[in-house]
């Protein structure tokens, strides 16, 4: 022991290591952004971007050679689903027209989500084993703030957990620490979306606190509730793949596969601002009204 205490090199390097560890931890606990880390993150941004692109390319080849059979099957399933969705789209277009007409007829206010979006690219994934976080190439310089939701065209990815000058880190929804209020689009059955250490490895998460007699089934689309959460309402989260009843708590737990493809995530959008506001009748497309009027007159005739 005395040998180490007399060694100047040991003492100096130990002091440096202790200072780096303690200062970073204290600043993180205080919620202060470490300026040295911030600088490091900003300087290494181009290197991260290049590494991310190389890894993406390598991963593409790996998927091509390892998962070709799976991709062929998936392609067939998607074609079938596409045909089914086209039918559903035609039906929902008709329903939307009727809805437009009735809202105008009964003078009901329209509530819409008004979002401001910023596009971003994933330039890295977190280097620890128990969290799934992604580094994006947008930071405080681009108006990004902690807690902003991140989405893709498919659905919710997660929310911004840390913001640097030109980068930010996103915690995904399958992260064990996250919890989001959600409900089933079809029936309105609600619950709390949480991460699970076991399911995380398969890219899935759980909905807990669903009433035992709630109307929810496998295949139901899950969307965000928007109540007291950082996420706006009606954002697609995923679909139910399994239901597990708990006899003790008389509650249901549902396993959910996120709609956003978290594996191989590339381009995302950050919702920088959102508000729910009544839709003004002035904003309604006049041609839509004419169509519904014409249809209405045809029906009355």
């Amino acid at each position: 022991m005395n040998r180490f205490l007399k060694n100047k090199f040991f003492l100096i390097t130990l002091a440096v290591a202790l200072t780096l560890s303690l200062s970073a931890t204290i600043l993180a606990v205080m919620g202060v952004n470490d300026p040295v880390r911030n600088l490091f993150g900003t300087i290494t941004l181009p290197v991260r971007w290049c590494a991310s692109k190389i890894a993406e390319g390598i991963d593409g080849y790996r998927v091509y050679f390892n998962k070709i059979d799976e991709l062929v099957e998936q392609n067939k399933a998607l074609r079938d689903e596409n045909a089914e969705l086209r039918e559903q789209l035609a039906e929902s277009e008709l329903a939307a027209r009727q809805d437009d007409y009735l809202r105008e007829y009964l003078d009901l206010p329209w509530l819409v989500n008004d979002w401001s979006l910023t596009d971003a690219t994933v330039i890295g994934r977190e280097a620890s084993s128990y969290r799934t976080t992604y580094t994006l190439n947008r930071g405080s310089l681009h108006g990004i703030k902690k807690g902003m939701p991140v989405v893709t065209a498919q659905g919710v990815v997660g929310s911004v957990a840390e913001v640097g000058l030109s980068y930010c880190r996103v915690v995904s929804i399958i992260e064990t620490a996250s919890s989001v209020g959600v409900y089933a689009k079809r029936s309105g059955a609600s619950g709390l979306l949480v991460g699970d250490m076991k399911l995380r490895a398969d890219g899935m998460c759980l909905i807990t606190y669903i009433e035992a007699d709630a109307d929810i089934k496998v295949g139901d689309l899950i969307v965000t509730a928007g109540t007291g959460s950082i996420y706006p309402a009606e954002l697609t989260v995923g679909t139910v793949v399994e239901l597990i009843p708990d006899d003790v708590s008389r509650m249901l737990t549902a396993t959910v596969r996120p709609a956003a493809e978290l594996e191989g995530l590339g381009e995302v959008m950050i919702i920088t601002d959102y508000q729910i506001k009544p839709y003004s009748y002035d904003d309604i497309d006049p041609s839509l009204g004419e169509d519904t009027d014409a249809e209405h007159s045809e029906v009355t005739e």
Binding site: K8, L20, S21, A24, A28, Y130
Partner: protein, 186 residues
Amino acid sequence: MRKNIRHYFTPTASLMRKIAIFGGWLLLLLLIQSTADIGAGLGRTVPALLLTAVSALGFFDSEKVGAVAGIAAGWALDAYSGSTVALLPLVGFCIGYFSGIVAGRLLPRGILPWGVCLGAVSVINMLCTAIGAAVTMPALRPLALIWHTLLPELVLTLLWGIPTGLVTRLLVRIERKIPTHRNNNE
């Protein structure tokens, strides 16, 4: 005092070469560890490539190189991943320094004896992950953490540690074989 400062901080050709070779290798490992999805098949965990390389540098080169590389690698890893508990500079320093101390004294400098250091690095990394997870996610179930994260991480670190150690040893040998200017003049 002036003599000591010169001894430590004069950027000799050998020192610059070490910084370039070992620094480049550590940077490459940092990018592989944080970008490539190498743990996709095993619970999405990440092997501790950097800490393994730090241990190998300390073991095959010297405790001084190991300690400095450990601090730099640990700090870069913490900064890169944005973890709340920034333990890694201290852990990296200890791994690098003590790997160098045991080499040649308690263990002969060979690839098989270095396996002991690899085992120690895997266990230390597992403990760091457990501390980080406990602080970040207090509601976590310990059994789930051990089974789905810590054990896969241990296995991955042991598996990926072997090629990482071999390449690091090779780099140390290459770096030693490059002739210095003084040698050339002689």
